[in-house]
Amino acid sequence: MPALGTAGFGIRTFYAATHPNDKCGANGLPLTPNSVKILGRFQFLKTLSHPRLCQYLDISKTKHECMLVVSEHHSSSLKELIKKEGSIGESEIVRVGYQLLEGLCYLHNNGVVHRNLSVEHVLLDVEKNVKLSEHGLYYMTDYGADVSFPIGLPRYMAPEVLCSGPVRVDEETGHCVQPLSGPKSDVWAFGLILLQLVLGKEIWARLGIKETLHKIVEMIKSDMSPIDIFQQDATVASKLQGTSRELRDVLRLCLTVSAAKRAKSSELKQHPLFRDERMKAVPHKEEVRMCTTELRCKDLELPTYEETIENEFSDDHLSRRSMSEVFYLWRLAGGDLEAVLRKAGLAKTRRPVHLLPCYGIVDGEVFGQDRDFAELLDFTVVPLSQEQLRYRLRDVPATAYYPLLEEESKVVETQSLPTSPSSGELTSSASLPLVIREKDVEYQFHRIILYERLLAAYPFKRPCIWREARVDIPPLVRANVWAAILEVEGDVEGMYDSIDKETPTTTDRQIEVDIPRCHQYHELLSSPSAHAKFKRVLKAWVLSNQQYVYWQGLDSLCAPFLALSFNNEALAFACLSAFIPKYLHKFFLRDNSAVIQEYLAVFSHLIAFHDPELSNHLDGIGFIPDLYAIPWFLTMYAHVFPLHKIVHLWDTLLLGNSSFPLCIGVSILQQLRDRLLSFGFNECILLFSDMPEIDIERCVQDSIKIFCSTPKSATYRQHARPNKKKTSEDRPNLSYYSRDYHDQPQSELSMEPIPIDELKGEKCCRISAEDLIELGELAGAAYSRSPTKKRQTSKPMILIVDVRSPEDFRRGTLQDSINIPFQTAFSPEGDLNPCSAVQTLNSRRNQVIIVVGNRGRNAANFANELVRLGYSRVCVLHKGLDVFRTTGLITVPPADI
């Protein structure tokens, strides 16, 4: 994306054509509105960046199929130049002509035909450089099929365009019936523009449409060259005589009726006329994408000292930021497109009460409605003032535009924000809720600049990115930050290109059925362009993971990545490919029941661990996780929430390890706790059939809390991703937070696979001996991996309950443990028999209760009973006390008092 420079932003509107009443497409679903189609096709135009083009920035649709397009804008145009200065010298004509060709060649190489070229649509920046505008209209409207107005002014209509007649839309496919206009129709218009520059006035200025079209018809029918027809006018002839032979030759090459004989734009660029211009021209360098194997330093020329001085002396630092970034900030600074239009008097529509039809029949056809004049195409471009943005950023010091990324050793946790005079203010805004931070222009400004620098240094700066992401991720850079967190690297595009996404496969049908049901409220994702991309990414994933199959839900998983990296399918695919093994290892096996059953069993344990009352209630009514939680985990909540909530959830989820999603599940249940407790089975089913609104920020905070208060081994799953061989040193071992259990070194004190039936039979999670040693500080308050224990000074946060017989207990047990023998613990009513140990148990209810027994089932059963009685945070020592035999931690308890 080019830098802002001296450019302004402009907004224009047009209306998409409406579909006939209740028409359905070939798949039986209602037709996609044309506005949505345009929205999807437009996205590609954003990727076209060239110094001779007005950069497209944004599109949105408002009520009633009205489209708002934002692009770079300059206030003067070729039309004004001609009006003001009349004929300009030939060297100037050649310069403008060559710049026009540069723009056209770039478009044509990218498969875009302008079709809308005219002197009005050639803008000039302050240095009189050419900027083509409106070049995407023909492309984004599916070559005119999605709008009811013709594209291009009659005067510039190439002969073949005129001969094909106005666009007719095929009823079945919704595409244009006639052959599409080729790049050569732009060459004709280019010729006309050149001719007008030579003449110093507009041709056929006073003719109506009919006369203009007849003029072109005349040229078509005549055997003379159009340029000779023009020369029949004496003034034209004399003007042309005054120009060089080469210029006349170019004109003749452009203004040729026969398209086959007309020159191509690339050929014209090589014409001798432009010899000098070609020498002067600076080749345009394509922007490099985040993950690429191309050399980023290729043809890098370090600026000389003088140049640097010259550039740096400009005070307008904002103008050096990219346009998309400035436009993003413009929005945050209170920029409102519709308000701008209203102020300019452009959004003025007729009163709805006057437009109403007066009669309708049962088929849905209506009669007597009026057409709104506002729907007609208006070429007016309303400039967007940057004043407000600049005012909001007036106090930002120049240094804030170029933050230093300190050496890692010097960075202290708290100094994660750039140091600037206003950073005190920034850290205070950092504590505000996320939704407010995302709307704060100054905060976002700092964050974006910081991230942009970090991303430019990716993968080198990955630890920094990781650390910043724990604060928040600005929406503008989210796609790339996610990719960085997911450790996407290497030749992403090459990989993606090498997968055959075209050949039909057996899963195609299912994919095609699922896509039109996936996040379709999202305008971008509901467009046909998005559907095509969806299909390609999903097929690519299925093909490149032969051991897995397509399960419904994969589409939902893909949606957030595709929505973020819409113009970079390869990146979306790479992210998806990195995400699935991390969180959904083996979930997409043809027979995934073992994996899912284990996941759900661990989830039930976690509910019981944190909320025994809810767990008892849900178990009591038989509302087991199998009934509601499978789509949660299979799609990592992407099927459950709307996209704007998923991104916030995933911002945190991506930083967590593979058991973090379980904690999210518990936090969702906690938000609905009151209702769930009062509901019976049927009401619960009904509640989850249509997920109620969830406060996502609270959900994220709660799940972090839950995660931090869960012993790591409690969420052990044998089907989680096995330990990766490569220990990635570039990712900081910031905390326990990000590490997977499987990534830790294993010993005989660690967890080991438990048969699924056993797992399901128990209500409580098991904890490994390792975790017990750590939590209980049995090996001293040494290096700790667990966040459960926060303050070094506080008492141990666990209570060890030895449920073996008193004889065994006296023979040796763990330090500080209490003894409640299982055999005698419970009264016939099921309550705990009161004794001093039970009193201790009751007085320390906030602590993690670890039930320790022999290898038998006594400990598990005891724990089940505790849960039934409403004790929270109960877990069972895996493998019983015997596991400590070799550790020397078993001591003889002090004698009973």
Partner: protein
């Protein structure tokens, strides 16, 4: 003139001693990138990696060349047709003309707002200014004038009726003595003509008053608007009227109480699986005309306009209209039943903005032939399909269409059709959808494909299109309770309607904005309170209510 063409591409590469040739058919233009296509070729033909880059270049060149020649060929074909006269150039120009003049502002005639629309702009700006009160008071004054005339009319007509009855009684008593049978007939005829004349005199008087008031009012509004444009300070008339309204006496005790309390219950609901939109539902039990009629409203004994009136006036030209669905029979007039009552309500004050109801119906009637044509076309298309399926049913449908024609019935309204009238002088309503319903609505077994339900779908669709944010729908599809409408009938009907409306709203909200809307479900005033609560209890089971706040005991 094809959009794409298949061409043979051949590629030659050498390895040490062998020369290999690859020949494939390539569809131009390529649907994917060249790189991807080459990757496929490499996979399919097991090509060596050293050939890849060269292959990419060659293929790119090939595709560009073929693409260009395809486009050139298409262009040449199009030009040739015109050159050879196969396509008439004048026809072509005439095709282009409307494309430009009807779709581009640059070439079309600038839009000239009608008189009504100019008035609308002025009115809308005034009603959102301090002049608001004045406007409403003036409207109110006018409506009192109409009321007086209507009272006079009713008295006069009653008087006439009485007189005629007396005459007739007397005549009948003396049949055979003073009067002959023929005399009676004559008398009846004379009386009838007499009352016709009187009635039409009143009708014309009333419409004359409406016209006069409307003209006066509009002129006044325009004048006030001009005045207010001139000076920025509050014009004197506003001050005057301000003081007048300030001087209103305090409301008396009994006036403070709401005049009639109607049974109603409101719900806030969420629609949608992932993205939720919030809407409001209201169940209310009242007569449909109560939503239209202005209720007498007095403060301190002075009759003043109702507060609802203010809301309706301010939103008349806004993007938030109120509509109501009314069920009518298939005749486009106002002579009988609820239609007549509705017409009386409409005529009870002057509509300063829209034509009279009668005039609006005339305009609607003009649309009927057009609609009939479309219907016939659709029937023809459907008919063709249906004929192939079942030949035997064609006889019955044929007779039915004949019947229609005999009545000149192609112009008739059918069940599920609706017409729409606009009003500025009703209490809580801007537009009324008159849905044509037939008697089979009373039976219990109607489905979601019933024409009236389809009409409701069409109306909800229109509401989304034309910014009607509040729509009132008769929940039981009836305006009056009758004997056969048992509790189970009502519950069944209510459930069907709730579910259908929910479906329609989800359907319409798919591609439209996130605006929230209000749907009011109306049940007839004859409904028992118990049944009302049963129906309102059904709403939470069908719609997802927004998260309730659960009160905790602690």
């Amino acid at each position: 003139m094809p959009h794409s063409v298949e061409k043979d591409f051949s590629y030659v590469f050498h390895t040490k001693s062998t020369k290999s040739t690859l020949k494939v058919a390539v569809t131009v233009p390529l649907r994917t990138s060249v790189k991807e296509f080459v990757a496929r070729l490499v996979q399919a033909h097991n090509l060596p990696c050293f050939a890849v880059q060269d292959l990419e270049e060659k293929l790119e060149e090939f595709v560009n060349r073929e693409n260009c020649s395809l486009q050139d060929k298409n262009a040449e074909d199009a030009i040739k047709k015109v050159k050879d006269g196969e396509i008439n150039a004048d026809d072509l120009v005439n095709q282009w003309l409307p494309a430009y003049t009807e779709e581009l502002k640059l070439y079309s005639k600038p839009y000239e707002p009608s008189k009504d629309e100019k008035f609308a702009e002025v009115y809308h700006s005034l009603i959102h200014s301090p002049a608001l009160e004045t406007l409403l008071n003036l409207e109110h004054e006018y409506s009192l004038g109409v009321e007086r005339l209507i009272k006079d009319r009713d008295r006069d007509l009653q008087h006439l009726q009485e007189k005629q009855r007396k005459e007739m009684d007397e005549a009948l008593a003396n049949v055979g003595t003073v009067y002959r049978d023929e005399d009676i007939n004559l008398l009846a005829q004379r009386q009838f003509e007499n009352s016709q004349t009187v009635e039409s005199k009143w009708v014309s008087e009333l419409s004359a008053l409406h016209e006069q008031q409307k003209a006066e009012y509009r002129e006044w509004v325009h004048r006030v608007h001009e005045d207010s444009q001139g000076n920025t300070t509050l014009p004197t008339y506003v001050q005057r009227l301000r003081s007048m309204s300030n001087a209103l006496p305090d409301a008396e005790e009994e006036e403070r109480e709401a005049p009639i309390t109607r049974l109603e219950e409101s719900f806030t609901i969420h629609l949608g699986a992932q993205m939720k939109t919030t809407h409001n539902l209201r169940l209310l039990c009242t007569d449909i005309l109560e939503l239209c009629r202005h209720k007498p409203h007095t403060v301190g004994g002075v009759v003043i306009p109702q507060p609802q009136r203010l809301q309706t006036a301010m939103s008349l030209y806004s993007h938030s209209l109120c509509g109501v669905v009314m069920l009518v029979d298939s005749r486009l007039n106002t002579y009988t039943g609820s239609k007549q009552k509705f017409a009386l309500v409409c005529d009870s004050s002057t509509d300063f903005h829209f034509p009279s109801l009668e005039r609006q119906l005339q305009v609607i009637e003009q649309q009927l032939p057009l609609a009939a044509e479309i219907k016939a076309q659709k029937r023809l298309m459907r008919g063709e399909e249906a004929d192939q399926v079942s030949l035997n049913s064609s006889s019955s449908s044929g007779s039915a269409s004949n019947e229609d024609k005999e009545k000149g019935g192609e112009r008739r309204l059918h069940s599920g059709d609706f017409y729409l009238t606009k009003h500025s002088n009703l209490s809580e309503v801007h537009t009324v959808f008159h849905v044509v319903a037939d008697d089979n609505l009373r039976t219990s077994d109607i489905t979601s494909r019933h024409p009236v339900i389809l009409a409701i779908r069409n109306i909800i669709k229109l509401s989304f299109r034309y910014d009607i944010h509040t729509l009132t729908v008769p929940l039981l599809l009836t305006h009056e309770m009758t004997e056969e409408m048992t509790i189970s009938w009502c519950m069944k009907r209510a459930e069907l309607m709730f579910k259908c409306v929910k479906g329609f709203m989800i359907e319409m909200a798919t591609y439209s904005s996130q605006e929230s809307r209000t749907i009011q479900f109306l049940v007839p005033s004859g409904l028992s309170e118990e049944l009302f609560h049963q129906i309102s209890n059904m709403i939470p089971t069908i719609f997802r209510l927004s998260n309730p706040l659960v009160v905790k005991s602690s």
